[in-house]
């Protein structure tokens, strides 16, 4: 089935997109996985110049405030403690260290692929406390909720969550109400929407008159999503549509949503670049505060502010492109990152650094025809 003529289909989609877009379009892909897919598959090099893709605040590592990184670092230094988290977080610089450096200094920091692995760590190490540094959007929070439930079922006394979880729709609202940048359409995240469905995005179309399409991650999915957005703009419509129909239902995953609600409550939370956004964080419910690391191990840490010169905040809002930051590819590279957008494999700056230098790709566009 995969063997269909991808290049041919892509060409015909691109032609349709070119026909539909009679004016310049600024489309925002909210999700970091889309940013990466767009670069990896070369979509940027194929789109008509009229279509501009900008990246939004959709990389969980990137929007995690430095203060919360600092806090996780302090937790990792506590006696008898295993700090478990996702791999992308290790290299994110805190104020004076990173989890990666702490690990090299002997801190017990474990990379897990799933929050349930952290529960297993707690089971296997009854003499230690395990703190899971939970970062992520609606894509990962159901798994974290299941992990909390599982820890409860196993009556584990040594399993805690430090939650830096965030919700996507409130961030989109904050971005739109800030009115700092023009956006003609949203390429909405496929994975997040598998969980939450399409309803939580309805306000984008209803209140702001901007179309959105929930889009999958294959190159042809993304091109179809862009085509659907271009069509809405052309027809002067604004609706939330689903391109990624094979997995996303309008009502989302009811079971996952239920577990999330049982374990977490939304509350105001800080986003790097966007500031505090109402109801955008997911924290453990009151009755589960015994597992809440922030409650059980309270800390007063100074607010470190942003690293000097770092413009990740503006990148995350789509206000500037990474090369416009003076640090980009000079003081800030994936090997020695300054800001989080260069650290995470889904970060916009890392994507530009690794795959982009977009201008270059445009310059050499003619070359492919010569390949046999």
């Amino acid at each position: 089935m995969k063997k269909l003529d991808e290049a041919g289909e892509a060409r015909s989609r691109l032609e349709k997109i070119a026909l539909l877009s009679d004016r310049p379009l600024r489309l925002m892909e909210v999700c970091g996985t889309h940013t990466i897919a767009i670069f990896r598959t070369g979509i940027k090099s194929l789109l008509p110049a009229k279509i501009e893709l900008i990246s939004g605040p959709g990389c969980p590592v990137c929007i995690t405030p430095q203060k919360e990184i600092d806090r996780a670092i302090v937790y990792s230094r506590m006696e008898n403690t295993i700090l478990a988290t996702f791999g992308d977080l290790l290299r994110v610089p805190g104020s004076d260290s990173s989890l990666y450096e702490e690990k090299s200094e002997g801190g017990d920091i474990r990379v897990v692929l799933s929050p349930l692995d952290a529960v297993r760590l707690a089971q296997d190490n009854p003499g230690k406390r395990v703190i899971f540094f939970a970062v992520g959007f609606e894509t990962t929070s159901p798994a974290t909720a299941f992990a909390v439930r599982e820890a409860g079922r196993l009556e584990l006394k040594n399993f805690f969550i430090y939650s830096s979880q965030r919700l996507v729709p409130p961030a989109i609202r904050a971005l739109l109400s800030g009115k700092k940048t023009r956006i003609d359409g949203f390429i909405l995240p496929g994975h997040v929407s598998v969980i939450i469905g399409s309803h939580p995005y309805e306000f984008i179309a209803r209140e702001y008159g901007i179309p959105g399409v929930i889009t999958g991650f294959d190159p042809l999915d993304i091109l179809e999503g862009i085509e659907m957005l271009a069509r809405q703009v052309r027809e002067k419509r604004a609706a939330i549509e689903i391109q990624y129909r094979r997995v996303v239902k309008p009502e989302g995953n009811v079971l996952a949503l239920k577990v999330m609600e049982e374990m977490f409550r939304p509350a105001p939370a800080l986003w790097r670049g966007l500031g505090e956004i109402p109801d955008s964080g997911l924290f453990l419910r009151e009755e589960l505060s015994g597992r809440d690391a922030a409650r059980v191990f309270p800390l007063e840490l100074p607010d470190p502010g942003e690293p000097p010169g770092c413009r990740c905040g503006e990148v995350l809002q789509g206000l500037i492109r990474p090369p416009e930051c003076a640090l980009f590819s000079r003081a800030c590279t994936p090997d020695l990152p300054v800001g989080p957008c260069m650290v995470s494999s889904e970060g916009t700056c890392a994507a530009y650094y690794k795959y982009g230098r977009e201008l270059m790709a445009k310059q050499v566009k003619g070359q492919s025809s010569k390949v046999k």
């Binding site: 060409r11 590279t333 982009g356 790709a361 390949v371």
Partner: protein, 337 residues
């Protein structure tokens, strides 16, 4: 029965050291040169040519992984480094740093695997050394191998010899070694059937050089993967390169793990693959010949060298777009070899 362990005294140079070498090492590595047990192996070569000399250390974690172990890796790594210069290996050295308390039985398994790999490569281990360090001063076992080989007359293989029009040949599926080691480490809760491709490539290279002695460049894409090697050749030669994604063989299991972990297969390490830069007129013939060898059966032309954009490697994507392949940065896993 109590399992025998390696003790500090085994590395002290006395009777225990002597016993260990005679009891464990010699039976596996035995050959006329090693048997003499002199401080240096002294030998001559009947073949004419220049000498190639290389060394590599192996610290892979875990020591055993599907498709290989540290011993097999230590032989193949050095044999392949010689082969990438077009050299036929004459002899290898093997030095072991062993952590006190290491089980003898495990050491024996590793030696056996080195013996097998050396047989496959038709190379002898002609000299060696063993040291034992205190518990905690090394993790299990580290191996350093070095190798000497002869580069036949007329063979001039260098990274800086790629020329516009040359074809880029890849000997088979990429990414398997790194994925196999990552899975074996068990840090990620992923399971899979992926085996390391760890293998000595000198036989394949010999066959390739019989077919196309004027081959321009040869590299084995170990750490940093295919993307890094192509970038290095492009920069050393001052040429551009264009590779086509749809032609690059990646197994679906490897692709799956990449998707899960957010990796790109083009940056993953291989231990039994090579990239050849071959003059245009000889490329088809070379690929056909490679396919007759078990380690080259999936060989394929993946792209070509161009005069434009020197130092740049472009990947033409499945949907006909472009991206630039940069050398690996930032996300590599340590201790995969």
């Amino acid at each position: 029965m109590k399992t025998k362990k390696i003790l500090l005294a085994h590395g002290a140079g006395g009777k225990l050291s002597h016993d260990l070498v005679h009891r464990l090492f010699l039976p596996y590595f035995d050959n006329d040169l090693l048997r003499q047990m002199d401080d240096s192996a002294v030998f001559s070569s009947e073949k004419a040519g220049r000498l190639a000399f290389t060394t590599d250390s192996f610290v892979v974690k875990p020591l055993f992984f599907p498709g290989g172990d540290i011993g097999r890796l230590a032989i193949c790594g050095t044999v392949n480094d010689l082969a990438m210069a077009g050299a036929k290996p004459l002899g290898l050295s093997a030095a072991f740093i062993i952590e006190e308390g290491f089980p003898e039985e495990t050491l024996e398994k590793i030696l056996q695997s080195m013996q097998e790999a050396a047989r496959e490569a038709q190379v002898k281990i002609v000299t060696g050394d063993t040291k034992v360090v205190e518990k905690g001063a090394a993790e299990g076992l580290f191996i350093t191998t070095a190798g000497v080989g002869i580069v036949p007359e007329g063979v001039e293989i260098q990274s800086r010899k790629a020329r516009p029009g040359d074809r880029i040949i890849l000997s088979g599926f990429i990414g398997e070694h790194e994925v196999a080691v990552l899975i074996a480490r068990g840090e990620f809760s992923i399971k899979g059937e992926v085996k390391s491709d760890c293998a000595p490539l000198n036989g394949l290279v010999e066959m390739m050089l019989e077919t196309v002695p004027e081959l321009h460049s040869l590299r084995d894409p170990t750490r940093g993967g295919m993307a890094t090697v192509l970038w290095e050749i492009a920069n050393a030669s001052g040429v551009g390169m264009v590779a086509r994604e749809e032609l690059i063989p990646v197994k679906s299991e490897v692709r799956g793990v990449c998707e899960l972990l957010g990796f790109d297969p083009y940056f993953l390490a291989n231990e039994g693959k090579l990239i050849a830069i071959c003059p245009e007129g000889a490329a088809d013939r070379l690929v056909l010949r490679m396919r007759s060898h078990p380690l080259g059966k999936d060989a394929v032309i993946i792209g070509q060298v161009s005069g434009e954009n020197p130092g740049r490697v472009l990947l033409q994507t499945r949907i006909g777009g472009h991206r630039i392949l940069e050398p690996l940065s930032g996300e590599q896993f340590p201790r995969i070899c």
